[in-house]
């Protein structure tokens, strides 16, 4: 043991540890939110992550069949193959339909907001220890993505970029209590901020907080981003109101929001890399 304390290897390990800590501090201070070590590793391993994500999709789509007795094995096998083929076709069609709808929605958003610049991206990974559904996408700074860029699925806001390497970016979702979005309800024009809690995020829900007790917001109301702050553009849909409740901690009320996007199972997203008002907001920061 004494040899270990005197060894060069311990010194090397201490140097690496210090380098890691400096890297972490650098990541906190840098604009991309990424340590140089993570960045280097990401460049090498992001293609592998993409491959495993594709493999996961592939296995998810394969229908698992039921084996029958020997007497009817052949016949059942043929039928099974047919069923599998049809099931695969159905799955493919469903996926295409969903993709098409997502692209149509984004096209609608693009029509409404001519100033938006989009970058389509695939979800390729997630942090298994994060319960708030943060995910990794296959696009990074080389595609024009920067920290705090809003991320949408169809016409729904799903989160913002938390860190970006050259080839990948990590997205914090609106189900993370760390994410706060300035928002308003379309019918009543009441303003608040959308965020989530540990309890709500488990059910895939968020909340519009900071409402008055006498709020006129009712279920089925649509909540959109207000554009205040410059991180999120105005009029992106965050979700619809499920119910309005009184806050236990103060005299305000809040509305429970249900997102139209299935945030826990996202596969394709769009990153808004540029919109009117974004540059000035970032300059102010």
């Amino acid at each position: 043991m004494r040899n270990f304390w005197k060894s060069t290897r311990l010194k090397v390990m201490c140097v690496v540890l210090v380098a890691l800590i400096i890297g972490s501090v650098f990541a906190v201070l840098s604009q991309n939110g990424v340590s140089p070590f993570s960045s280097a590793v990401e460049v090498v391993f992001s293609p592998l992550q993409r491959l495993s994500s594709a493999a996961s999709d592939l296995f998810g789509n394969v229908a698992v069949g039921f084996r029958s007795s020997l007497a009817y094995a052949k016949e059942v096998e043929e039928l099974k193959k047919q069923v599998e083929m049809y099931q695969e076709q159905v799955v493919d069609n469903e996926q295409l339909k969903q993709k098409l709808k997502s692209y149509e929605d984004v096209l609608g958003v693009k029509d409404e907001h001519q100033d938006f610049e989009f970058q389509p991206a695939l979800v390729i990974g997630r942090d298994s220890a994060d319960k708030f559904y943060s995910f990794v996408i296959n696009k990074g700074t080389k595609d024009g993505i920067a920290v705090n860029d809003p991320v949408i699925s169809g016409k729904y806001l799903v989160g913002r970029v938390a860190k970006a390497t050259s080839h990948t970016a990590t997205v914090l979702t609106i189900l993370d209590p760390k994410v706060n979005v300035s928002a308003y309800e379309v019918r009543t024009r009441e303003q608040g901020f959308a965020t989530s809690t540990v309890e709500l995020s488990k059910e895939g829900l968020a909340r519009l907080s900071g409402l008055e007790r006498s709020t006129a917001i009712a279920p089925e109301g649509i909540v959109c981003t207000s554009g205040v702050g410059g991180i999120y553009p105005r009029d992106l849909i965050i979700g619809t109101v499920r119910e309005v409740l009184n806050d236990e901690h103060d005299i305000s009320s809040y509305a429970v929001l249900e997102s139209g996007a299935d945030i826990a199972h996202l596969q394709d997203v769009f990153v808004i890399t540029d919109f009117e008002g974004q540059a000035s907001a970032q300059a102010e920061e």
Binding site: M1, F4, R9, V12, M13, V16, L17, L20, I21, G23, S24, A27, V28, G33, V34, S35, F37, S38, V41, E42, F45, S46, L48, Q49, S52, S53, A55, S56, D57, F59, G60, V123, I124, G125, R126, D127, S128, A129, D130, K131, S134, F135, V136, A162, K163, T165, T168, T170, V171, L172, D176, P177, K178, T197, V198, E199, K202, H265
Partner: protein, 177 residues
């Protein structure tokens, strides 16, 4: 050290690095490892502990660092947290096994449990408790502690793999066990 032994070490390290990459992909790709009642597995931790049990301190620290960097790459929280943690865990396991403990399944179970609980507790304290999230305590009971149990399932498999790898490519400077 003879040339042949050196070659053995390089081959073993290369195999271990590949195993780390594969386990990291399984852990951090949605849908590859099933979620049990919303609880997810973190098999990289038992893997690093098992590697630490069959490697010397510096080797396991380096491999732990590699595993941590891969994990940090997909994490939105805590830059470098996993790199530092897994490097230290690898080193400590290597040292404990070399000087104090015997290499068997019970030791592996003990070290893996401690490493898992410590990781999840530290993560919970730094990224949920200190930021002041409501309901953080519930999340600890419903997600982070059960995930320790779920991740522990992988330990015997990794231990067996490391044992066979150690037999096939023996490490001349690992003495205990």
């Amino acid at each position: 050290m003879p040339k042949r032994e050196n070659r053995m070490i390089y081959i073993r390290w290369a195999i271990l690095a590949v195993i780390i990459v594969i386990v990291s992909l399984f852990q951090n790709t949605r849908g590859l490892l099933p979620e049990i009642y919303g609880v997810r597995a973190m098999p990289l931790i038992p893997l690093v502990v098992c590697i630490g049990m069959f490697e010397r301190d510096w080797g396991s620290a380096a491999l732990g660092l590699f595993a941590g960097l891969l994990w940090d790459g997909v994490s939105a929280h805590g830059q470098g947290f996993r790199s530092i943690y897994l490097m230290i865990i690898g080193c400590v396991c290597g040292l404990l096994l070399h000087y104090f403990m015997r290499r068997n399944l019970v030791t592996a179970l003990l070290l893996t449990s401690v490493a898992l609980v410590l990781h999840n507790l530290l993560y919970w304290v730094f990224f949920l408790l200190i930021p002041g999230y409501d309901g953080a305590a519930k999340l600890l009971l419903e997600f982070y502690l059960p995930s320790c149990l779920y991740s522990l399932i992988f330990m015997p498999l990794f231990f067996a793999v490391m044992k066979s790898l150690h037999k096939r490519f023996p490490n001349p400077i690992v003495t205990n066990g």
